[in-house]
Structure formats: structure tokens, C-alpha cells
Amino acid sequence: MRAENARSVVDGNAIAGLLAELFTQDMTMMTGTCGGCGAQAPFAHNVVELDETAAIVRCRSCTHTLFTVLRDGETLRLRIGSLVALEAP
């Protein structure tokens, strides 16, 4: 069975592998700042809407989209939304 819309709402832990493909390191401990509300949180804490082709990463405080990762075959594309700063742990 091939679910067309197997979307689930999880958190940033679930895309550790996906983000490691993009950044070649663990990003779950990275602290991001939301430009929408100013909240700072580790990536693991973000709300993630996940399906086969996209991960939409939202601020848990204000729900603005921090960034989106799109998968097209072997290619990954990162679109930055309201994420304005990154801080290593």
C-alpha cells in the first residue's frame, strides 16, 4: 500500500536524518530563533509536519513556518521561512 498522504505531525527529532543529509551533522540540538515571535528553541522541539516529499518545520510558539525541506528524488531543497538565527549548542 502506498499512502499518498501519509502525513504526520511530529517534532524535530523525526527529521534528524533528513537534516543530517543537508547539513552533514546533527541538527536536533541547534537552537533556532523565530523571526515571527522571537522564540528560541532547539530544533528537536519544533513542530514538524512530515510526509514523503516534504517536512514543514514550524515554531511551536507562534506556528510560523521556520523552514521547509522538500525532497524531489535524490535532491533536497531547503526553503527558509521565519528562521532568522541559528546557534550551535
Binding site: M1, R2, A3, A6, R7, S8, V9, V10, D11, G12, N13, A14, A16, G17, A20, T24, Q25, D26, T28, M29, P42, F43, A44, H45, L50, E52
Partner: protein
């Protein structure tokens, strides 16, 4: 933290542990070892090339070439029914990891540790409890484990054994029904359960909560409402697909 590429892996052992869940042992040549609480991505490839990726927590930790996953079947899911019903020793899949440095217990802390699991959210927390028991020393652990019924508990015997050895204080919460003769309450974790079984706020516990998204949200909200600082609460949510 080691990520690396997809590694070919072979299922070496399968064991049905609840009516809907199975423990899989998987041999991963060159596996670099993992910390308690980490997960892996598992990739399955169909004969026509279609691929599906899912994340599963490791019930094991440390070194060696064999990792352990416990997978609960998601009805109508795309991957978990295959892993729970069909996969057999000798079958191949791919594994990436270990993944995630956030939801990890590292020995050496002094604060007591509180683990709170809903359903198959027990898997990474069981790895933490085993690590604490294996260490033989360290901060005291409490585990609050919410399951529908006794037979739905993954790692039931292992956890009872860990609790019997004195390393981990274990409290069961049954949401549908308890074991024969059970006279305790039946229902979800609520403020009262947390207030009476979780380390008090003034002990400054490190709290780890893992389970389905709705479970984690409810428990984390209750913890904060009861005064636990959000920064002391680490959470990991899973969906179903």
C-alpha cells in the same frame, strides 16, 4: 554523533512481544554504536524501486554490530505492518544513524531522571533505563509507563526485572484495563498521576517524555502546569504511517 550514509543491514532475529508489536534485531556491519535514546532511519526498497523511510527508536545502546528496534504496527500504515507481520530473519533493509543528540540520556548527571512513556514511546526510554541499570551507579530513575492493557506493554518483563533490581522505580498506568485483580485506577495520565508519581519539582528532575504526539502534548502541558521548567523537559513525538 555519527550519521553517515545508508548502511546495508540484515534482519537477524524477530520476536513478537505484544499482539501488535515486534522486536527486531538487525545486524549492521560497521555500526558505530549509539547513545541511549537515539534512533535510526530505516529505508525499505520495493522490487520496483519505490522507497519508504521511517524513523525508529533504538531499544539498544552502546557498541556491537547488532541493533534492536521495537516496532508497533500502525493500522493502515505503509511500513510498520511489513516490519511487524512480514519481515523475516535474513531480509535486507538499509539503516542510517545513529540519529539525534537531543533526546539522549548521558551518564554523569546528578539530578534524578524521570522517564514518561506512552505506548511504543517506551523504546528509547527502555534504552536509557538499561543504560542506567548497566552503569550500576548514577542518579535515581523513575519510569511512568502508560499502556492500554498489560499485554500491550513492550519490554514488560525487562522493565519489571530492571525495577526488581532496584535501578528504576516503575509505575504502570493502564488506560483501558489493568491485570487480573487490579484495583488501581484505569485512565490516562493526568495532573494527579503526575503529582503523585513523578519526581517533585524541587528535586529538579531531568524529564524525558516519548509517545504519540497527542500523548506527549498532554503530558508536557501537565508537567509545565505543575511547575516543571520547560527547559528540563525533553520530548520526542511520533506519528503513524
Amino acid at each position: 554523533m555519527i550519521v553517515g550514509d545508508w548502511r546495508p543491514a540484515t534482519v537477524s532475529e524477530v520476536a513478537d512481544v505484544t499482539p501488535t508489536a515486534r522486536v527486531l534485531r538487525i545486524t549492521v556491519p560497521g555500526w558505530p554504536g549509539s547513545e541511549p535514546g537515539q534512533h535510526v532511519d530505516v529505508r525499505l526498497t520495493a522490487e520496483d524501486g519505490y522507497q519508504a523511510v521511517r524513523s525508529y527508536s533504538l531499544g539498544s545502546y552502546g557498541g556491537g554490530d547488532t541493533i534492536e528496534l521495537a516496532v508497533d504496527e500502525v493500522p493502515d500504515g505503509e511500513v510498520s505492518p511489513y516490519l511487524v507481520r512480514d519481515v523475516q530473519p535474513g531480509d535486507m533493509l538499509e539503516v542510517k544513524g545513529p540519529l539525534g543528540g537531543y533526546f539522549v540520556w548521558r551518564p554523569g548527571g546528578v539530578n534524578p531522571v524521570q522517564l514518561i512513556a506512552g505506548g511504543s514511546g517506551i523504546v528509547p526510554l527502555a534504552a536509557m533505563a538499561k543504560a542506567r541499570a548497566d552503569a550500576g551507579t548514577g542518579p535515581p530513575f523513575r519510569l511512568l509507563y502508560s499502556v492500554r492493557r498489560p499485554e500491550s506493554a513492550i519490554y514488560r518483563d525487562e522493565l519489571e526485572r530492571l525495577a526488581g533490581d532496584g535501578g528504576v522505580n516503575l509505575t504502570w498506568v493502564y488506560t483501558r484495563g489493568g491485570p487480573p485483580g487490579w484495583t488501581g485506577r484505569v485512565g490516562r495520565i493526568d495532573d494527579e498521576v503526575i503529582a503523585s508519581t513523578v519526581w517533585p519539582v524541587d528535586q529538579m528532575p531531568d524529564v524525558f517524555v516519548c509517545g504519540p504526539t497527542s500523548f506527549v502534548e498532554q503530558v508536557a502541558d501537565a508537567l509545565v502546569r505543575l511547575g516543571h521548567p520547560p527547559a528540563k523537559i525533553r520530548t520526542e513525538r511520533f506519528g503513524g504511517a
